[in-house]
Amino acid sequence: MEVSVHNLTKVFGTLRANDGVSLRFAEGQIHGVLGENGAGKSTLMKLLSGFLRPDGGEVLLEGKPVALGDPGAALRAGVGMVHQEPLDVPGFSALENLLCAAPRWALPSRTEARNTLTVLAGRLGFSVAPDDPISALTVGQRQQLEIIRLLACGARALILDEPTTGITAAQARSLFVALRRLAAEGNTVLFVSHKLDEVADLCDTVSVLRAGRVVGEGQMAMPQPQERLLRMMFGGGGHSSPQVETPRRGVSTAPPAWQLNRVAARDGNMALTDLNLAIPAGAVVGLAGLEGSGQQILLRLLCGQFRPSAGRISLAGADLTGAGAAAFRRGGVEYLPADRLVEGVVGPLTLAEHFALLQPEGAIIDRRAAEGAARQAITDYSIKAMPASPIMALSGGNQQRAMLAMIPDNTRALVCEQPTRGLDVASARAIWGRLLARRDAGCAVVFATADLDEILEYSDYVLVFFAGQISRLLPRAELSAPRLAELIGGVDFATVAGSRGATAT
């Protein structure tokens, strides 16, 4: 079944998650959809599978416009989506899940369901038996079950969202075999991923999304050069990136802000081991890499939210190994989370109340002082708000400015996660102005972002993360945009890997 979208647009608040996307996915092929975190892949897939409704444009199946009001309607129309984390009932058996998740018309009886399951599993080489309890299945097997369910319900176009996350290599291989077979039988397969090698391995065509738009000429036939795809994904095309204007400092001679010695830490599947790193004061360090390559772990280690399982961390010479976030904060580390309203600020409280919270000791709130501080911040940081505005009523840029304004002057080090996420260009520039001013005052700034332009524009040093390995501290001056894109994609990564530096499993 041919699936196409025309000028599809979806807006969340001020964010245009999909902005006039037009693509055509021909039947009998596997189509890759690439893009970094937040590029709009998931939104597009949810629009196709009925989980979201478009704000503009249309979805066409076999060339006819359709309105997919909900996932059930989409499935009846022949489009089914396999989620990253399969949606199933853990206490049930595979058969029971199939029965309860499929509409009555698809599987009228238990016997029929059992037959369907067995037949489809055999045909696709899946290893799911009807009576297996879900709790005993691996993520890969649950994915297989989900595919069987969608096929049993009549899906002729399958959407797989990051299907290889959390499954073994062997399972991924058998999944690919099955997907190729499904495509050969005339089905349409949409494969959403940010893993270039998988897309190269599996897909017939590829489309790249960035910031809600289709990049370049649209759908391209595979194979494509990896560097090209990377540049499309991350921008940083070299030509388009503005030349660096910010005054850049030479290699710092100041003592390191953070010193990590043989640190190991783990978060889920991802683990850092034997990490040796000295992050200089008075410099901006950008963390580059595909999402989920370990940047998160490092950020959280640096602000004390993760405790290392081995090794030592010291901050300006003071050993803080095993200390909590509060100790890091006392030591002068401030953390600016990406999800401002979730981790950064208390949405319903006003700006003035936030400053009251930051007042030094004193049992009774000094409202006048708090309002004064808020007003000062509003002036200094050009925040469009009143002291009595609840923070959640502010725009994203103003929230970010407010968060920066709340950072005490004596801060030694800043840890920023996507500091300009969701901000317009002017706001982003203003935020960076502030961050660079902090750097110039001697503060260490570490930030992670998916935007290579941002890395190249503002970093003094870059740390590249690839497949769980970390490069040594690379001076920005040594990096060109194409080179950085290659490193992120793993090309010649060994040449920059920390000597004993950072490795990861």
Binding site: A325, V342, G344, V346, L357, A363, I365, P387, A388
Partner: protein, 352 residues
């Protein structure tokens, strides 16, 4: 919240804030009245007459007014305490048990030193009541903060345990001489009862204690740094922690403070109302206070009117069985419906 309007012109407030909470309050009231009227009509009771008794009955005689005040006092104490836990984002269902333990603890000095001067004993009873309630709440806080047991379940479990303790004491060590009845312990000597106004069951100390406590809580929530931190923790513990607020500690403190207030309410039940320990000494006042707090949320300023109104409904409805032949529990239906519709209205307003 803050009241300054003089800042530079900027941001319009978001739409939801424009809609008056009063409008939704009025809608909730109308909804609750309609619902209750349907219940009344379906049992053949004239709604207007029933409402007259429920709303005005408590004011018909000095005796009823005094009964209303004696119910409102512990209700206000519990509600004031619950605004603290509500501000901290906790649903302290354990308030009943905290009240029971407060009552039990208040009995201890009264039993041990009955010969001390009564004013001293009352002070001791209040102090022990507050300590007992706070201790019981600290147990819930420990379960919540230390062992990550949801405070709702911890509270319910501790309520059962508290009832068990009260029952054990009533039937066991503290039973009346020669008796073992769950109707209660030996009544306190008259000298130890809180002094009442002539011919009324109104002990003025009870509402005075309640009002003072309410004022303190109001000031704590709205004026102190501690109260602000509590609200920050309740609204967003992660962000509050990022800004240096010891979140877990504030959670525990709010629970303990709520327990202390519930314990004071328990002490009032002992020395001002029942004058003995009975197994159901809390009389569901803690649960009623939960309903009050679902209406007023973390805003102590509204506790006084809402708790008073609930006390009015409850006392006014005592005469329903006699006057209209219907059950007095209709007041509970009205109270519950009010809260239900208020939650509905709030949910609707949040969806904008």
């Amino acid at each position: 919240m803050t009241t300054s309007n003089q800042a530079a012109p900027a941001q319009k407030p978001p739409k939801a804030a424009i809609r008056s909470p009063l409008l939704f309050g009025a809608l909730a009231l109308v909804g609750a009245l309609i619902f209750t009227s349907i219940v009344l009509l379906s049992s053949g009771v004239p709604p207007l007459e029933a409402y007259r008794l429920i709303f005005l009955g408590a004011f018909s005689t000095p005796v009823r007014i005094s009964d209303m005040i004696m119910l409102a006092a512990p209700l206000m104490l519990c509600s004031a305490g619950l605004t603290l836990t509500f501000a901290a984002g906790l649903y302290n269902l354990g308030v009943e048990g905290q009240m029971i333990l407060g009552a039990v603890a208040a009995m201890i000095p009264l039993r041990l030193f009955p010969d001390l001067p009564p004013p001293l004993l009352w002070a001791l009873a209040f102090a022990c009541g507050a300590a007992g309630g706070a201790a019981w709440a600290t147990l819930a806080a420990w379960l919540r903060v230390g062992l990550r047991v949801n405070e709702i379940f911890a509270g319910l479990g501790l309520n059962f345990l508290a009832s068990g303790i009260a029952l054990y004491l009533v039937l066991g060590p503290w039973r009346r001489v020669g008796q073992a009845s769950s109707s209660g312990t030996e009544p306190l000597p008259n000298a130890l009862w809180l002094p009442t106004l002539d011919k009324l069951r109104l002990a003025p100390i009870a509402p005075i204690v309640a009002l003072i406590a309410l004022a303190i809580i109001w000031a704590a929530v709205t004026r102190t740094r501690w109260g602000l931190e509590l609200r920050a923790v309740g609204l967003n513990p992660q962000a509050a922690g990022r800004m240096g607020v010891p979140a877990a500690r504030r959670l525990a403190e709010s629970l303990a403070a709520c327990g202390a207030l519930a314990g004071l309410a328990g002490a009032i039940q002992i020395i001002g109302v029942f004058h003995q320990l009975i197994p159901s000494i809390s009389s569901g006042i803690g649960l009623l206070a939960l309903l009050v707090v679902l209406l007023v949320r973390a805003n102590p300023a509204w506790v006084l009117p809402v708790a008073a109104a609930f006390a009015v409904f409850t006392v006014g409805s005592v005469q329903l069985p006699l006057a209209l032949g219907t059950d007095s529990s209709i007041a509970g239906v009205l109270q519950g419906a009010l809260v239900l519709f208020a939650l509905l209205a709030r949910g609707l307003s949040a969806r904008k």
